[in-house]
């Protein structure tokens, strides 16, 4: 009887949260799986909806536009994740010293993260502007020609190698388009502060005596970094790597508001951007869009599992 009463009481505490989660999280997961197997369009009445099996999935996978978005998304992830992690780790290590004005620098580096994407995109659209942007002003000061930034479809490697006369034909080798790379630089600028704070917490968690002992034994700064910092920071790094990778695959907002039409030659259209175009921008192909969402989910799942297999073993949890 007492157990029953306790259960009833706990149920009352959980009821509001459960209700919201059930309606807006559980239910949609199931619904969207069902929708992805139908030919439903947002504007149709329910009576015309037909079960089409895996057709949507086949359609998505055969769509050349979708292949382009996969390439774009991988380009985004491959360049933005490692660069963000490296720069934020560097910033965290610089801040992990005893200098004046540490909290000032911490605030300055963190500030972009709390700023909304809409305002950022407005400012950076101005920054990258061909005619009067600061980016081209800096290039001019250094005596370099103007760049198109957000409207340049050529890949960064294509552009770089063309200056020394080598032309790259394969789209995979071309790298992200300069338009995408401009967006990558913006996302790096925004998220450095966030990852820096996590790294900083990880660094401050490492016992100082390890460094002192190593210094007495004559280990150089590089060796101390390699054999103390890297292994002891590995759980934090692993956590950041996994979460930032997952978030980067789902990226969409910066692309949508910096290049609303998908960028030059659709080179900034990511998978979720594509989903948004198919599902919500006039076409209302809900079945198709749901199939894209689940294909993305499977891609993220596979990548996360691979990361766990390969890197998970090398993480040192014990201190």
């Amino acid at each position: 009887m007492r157990i029953l009463k306790q259960n009833a009481e706990a149920f009352c505490y959980l009821l509001p949260a459960t209700l919201v989660l059930a309606v807006f999280w559980f239910l949609p997961v199931i619904l969207s799986i069902i929708i992805s197997f139908t030919n439903w369009k947002g504007l149709d009445t329910w009576t015309t909806v037909k079960w089409v099996g895996l057709t949507n999935y086949f359609n998505v996978l055969q769509d050349a536009e979708f292949h382009q978005t996969i390439l774009n998304t991988f380009n985004y992830v491959i360049y933005s994740v490692p660069l963000t992690l490296l720069i934020s780790l560097l910033a965290a290590m610089l801040l992990n010293s005893q200098i004046q004005g540490r909290s000032f620098f911490r605030t300055v580096y963190f500030l972009p993260f709390i700023t909304t994407w809409v305002a950022i995109s407005i400012v950076f659209r101005y920054f990258y502007d061909r005619e009067f942007g600061l980016a081209n002003y800096f290039l001019k000061q250094m005596g370099m020609p103007r760049l198109e930034w957000l409207s340049e479809p050529r890949g960064i490697w294509t552009m770089l190698f063309s200056t020394i006369g080598i032309s790259i034909k394969k789209p995979i080798l071309a790298g992200p388009s300069l338009a995408m790379f401009s967006i990558i630089l913006t996302t790096i600028w925004r998220s450095i502060g966030y990852y820096m704070i996590i790294f900083l917490a990880g660094l401050q968690n490492i016992d100082k005596t390890y460094y002192e002992a190593a210094e007495i034994d004559g280990a150089s700064a590089w060796h101390r970094f390699l054999h103390i910092t890297v292994p002891l920071l590995s759980p934090v790094t692993f956590f950041i790597l996994v979460t930032s990778m997952i978030n980067s695959f789902k990226v969409f907002v910066p692309q949508l508001i910096m290049t609303p039409s998908g960028g030059p030659d659709n080179t900034t259209t990511t998978i979720v951007f594509h989903l948004y175009e198919k599902g919500f921008q006039g076409l209302w192909l809900m079945g198709h869009a749901s199939a894209i969402a689940y294909i993305l989910f499977v891609i993220i799942l596979i990548i996360t599992l691979i990361q766990n297999r390969i890197l998970g073993r090398r993480v040192h949890y014990e201190v």
């Binding site: 509001p16 949260a17 949609p28 200098i99 004005g101 700023t115 995109s121 809900m286 749901s290």
Partner: protein, 340 residues
Amino acid sequence: MPLPASIKHEKNIVFVSNIAIFLILVFGFRFLGWKGILVYAGFLALLLFTIINVWQRPRNIKDTITYQALLIGGFFMVLPFYWMFITSFKSYKEALAFPPTWWPTEFHWKNWVEAWNAPKGNIYGDPPVPLTFTRYFYVSIMVGIVTTCGSFTVSALAAYAFARMQFWGRGLFFYIIIAMMMIPGQVLLIPNYLTLAKLRWLDHYQALIIPWLASVFSIFLLRQFFITIPEDLWDAAQIDGAGRFRFLWQIVIPLSKPVIITAGIFDFLGNWNSLFWPLIVTTRPEMRTLMVGLQAFNQDAGSDFHLLMAASTFAVLPIVIMFFFLQRFFIQGIARTGLK
């Protein structure tokens, strides 16, 4: 350990000279281009030479390098903010000048008023409607406050049940909630839109508030903290005749103030900055949040960068002010997510 006066004095010299040398870089580059960087390198070499040969303190060399790296990085972090703020006071012509000016020749304070009152087009390309930013701010603040308070209540109750009560399926239920943190939100977007359409909530406050009332992140964060509150307190409260609800309200919640503020900040920030959700669930301009309004203005205003920068500045300002007051909680909250 307090430093001797002479070393402390020297530390200040290092601090000030580092900033001075960095300013030489900024202004040198502005006027001289590449040559400015050479002037900077020269002064930096001079400082390092002094440290090595006159003071002979390796610590100061390390500090100098750290300062220079942090200042150069910090310059790029601040530049967009500075540019946004300063352009918001320029005239239309000056905002489009090339080479750009680093300080407005004349301050146009009216830009802010003009941007605030400019009619905003509907995001779907319909004709502009006479809405000012007052309405957008009102919607955003309303939705932000109600969601944050509601989410706090709902999450605190659930977190308390997970942390402190025994019930059937507790473990399973908790793991389902954690697993939901991993599902990409876009999967849920389409069916949620349908649910809201069926409920006839589209274009109403409910659509902006109710789906965000249960924040998985807040539940998790609060539960982790509630677990650490000693069981003895509950026993003592029971002896004094308090029920569970009173215990939660009068003992647990006051004790977990920092965590609650952290969770609240993240709820509010997420709400304030969200663009996609309000964009999809609202079509009437007067139901749109500040971010959607700003985005509509962005698409309308074209190259009126002086007005766009003014609008961006006042959209960002409330969050920046909040950040300066509550910085400690931001930092703690984020630091906690990385350490299990």
